[in-house]
Subunit: 231 residues, 2 copies
């Protein structure tokens, strides 16, 4: 019981910081996506691809959460990320709003239009922690099985977008795209779904177009962005 | 700070129950394996295969932990599991010793020689919770990337055996078996490693032989087991 009370306090403290972050993001017109998935579903690969395609047209920053290493942050820098902040949680199984707030101290939000937060690889715990994002984007991959939405419903319920990665491996697995979609939509009928392969690039054009529109919708006239960065 | 104190109390309470469980398992001569992995690495598939191959010769029970469904327990029953107990954690990200103890109330440990505990799909949180097992068996799959041991070291440090699943997909991924092995062994040099495909069956004979020997070593002369179940 004491544990539940403490847990509630932690979450309520998190809500306060997340609200503060959301206010900052909103006044700066920055679109913020919180990427969540199991380990190895392809969060970092999706961001590497996205940097390669969009870094020149959408000024963006990336916060990469990891339990023990800064491997992901290094990969994102190598892929052309200009502003990359690692968060090493030191064992913790999710990011919280305080960690994100701390990592943003040296980022000028007025100079970016898009912020990706790559959460710790975990399909359970990160679902409870609001990071002030516009939306959670949940990734699954075709090699994980198509029943994941039913088994980890909280994450799918709290996400707005679902990316199904590794579609290049569809022929070699028992994954049914139809089941995966209907399983996910039965948990959350409002999910927008993207089918992609970060390895081959299939389907990514649709993801880029969706992302570009999302960013433009939040901040159609970014006066604070330098001319060469306008969409 | 208060949270850390509560966390310590929870873990210490868990240790007490785990010690009690270990004592029970030991006096009954039951080998207990705690299976841990990301969602979708193949814990249930490995158990389905293992039931098919060994259920006739090793009397076994299975406890299948899941966040919200009893999908895994149903799959294990369909695969021939005679004694299958689901644990639905109701949102919790790991099994704890109290859940396992409760699930065992109707299992006669003197009638089995092997108990599998399939943990919640999560490569972080279950590493902190002793369930009274002989050892943790950690699964990864070739589609998750070969850097998982570095990124989730606690789980690999606390496991004794590593199963690398989905080797049938090796040709279609960028996974390096050599890197995966050296990454894992650099975290824990004592890991015994099995390379398998639960889909095609490749490598599983070695896993069955290892398992059979493990069970026989703990309980070489199981007087309490009926004649037809002797190894």
């Amino acid at each position: 019981m004491a544990r539940i009370e403490i847990e509630k306090k932690v979450l309520s403290e998190n809500e306060k910081i997340a609200a503060r972050l959301r206010q900052q993001f909103s006044s700066s017109g920055v679109t913020v996506l919180n990427l969540v998935s199991s380990p190895g579903s392809g969060k970092t690969s999706l961001l590497e691809r996205t940097l390669g395609a969009l870094a020149e047209v959408i000024p963006m920053a990336l916060v990469a959460g990891d339990v023990q290493t800064d491997n992901d942050a290094k990969r994102l820098e190598a892929a052309g990320g200009q502003i990359v902040r690692p968060i090493i949680t030191g064992g913790a199984c999710h990011l919280d709003a305080a960690m994100v707030e701390k990592s943003l101290t040296e980022i000028d939000l007025n100079q970016i239009r898009l912020l990706f937060i790559e959460n710790v690889g975990n399909l359970v715990c990160p679902s409870s922690y609001d990071l002030g994002e516009d939306q959670k984007v949940v990734l699954i991959s075709t090699t994980e099985g198509d029943d994941k939405p039913q088994k980890y419903p909280s994450m799918f319920r709290r996400s707005s977008t679902l990316v199904i990665n590794k579609i290049d491996l569809l022929d070699y697995t028992d994954f049914s795209m139809e089941s995966a979609r209907s399983n996910a939509l039965s948990i959350n009928g409002k999910l927008s779904v993207h089918e992609v392969s970060c390895r081959t690039g299939t389907g990514l054009d649709g993801w880029y177009a969706w992302l570009t529109e999302l960013v433009a919708r939040k901040n159609p006239d970014p006066k604070h962005i330098e001319e060469n960065h306008r969409l």
